[in-house]
Point group: C2
Chain length 100, copies 2
């Protein structure tokens, strides 16, 4: 099997956030916690999810289409959440970076 026939490895960094106006009790809890610790200058906290998804795909367009579909079907609840993601090509057979 030649190198060229291998699919590429992509890393999708997915951000899932609550739509504006949707209640965010965990965010309020974090805000309260910060205030209790003395951070009076904090105005607002919104809590979301961050996912790193590694996937094989023949090209970037396919990877992008697949991740969009995954977000719609499982990763985000599009009734109350928005999602966005960046896609980067990763080297094969190396460990993902801790702080990319």
């Amino acid at each position: 099997m030649s190198l060229q026939s291998l699919p590429m490895l992509f890393l999708a960094r997915v951000y899932v956030t609550l739509k504006p106006g949707v209640n965010d009790p965990p965010g309020l809890a974090v805000l309260g916690g910060l205030k209790n610790l003395g951070y009076a200058s904090v105005r607002r906290v919104r809590l979301g999810k961050y996912l790193e998804v590694y996937l094989d795909a023949p090209d970037r367009a396919t990877a992008e289409a697949q991740v969009t579909e995954m977000c719609r079907r499982l990763l985000a609840n599009t009734v109350i959440e928005d999602f966005r993601f960046d896609l980067s090509e990763e080297p094969r057979l190396t460990k993902p970076q801790a702080d990319p």
Copy 2:
């Protein structure tokens, strides 16, 4: 009160991720869910947190120092998690963007 005496409003976008090597059962559950939906090309999923923190500060350096301290004290468990954040100055008295 003049405009100049008002503190600036900053938005910190905070990413909290598990350190490499730390078990991630929720990530494995998402990976399993994606496989069950037919996404055989997904290799790995790591789940993290994403927070948007709005805070007042007299300048960027102060905001940066405060957010770093908040992460260390409350937002991240630095035994098992890494954190990083971007800081941007926000216009006053406007709603935060849904998809910045």
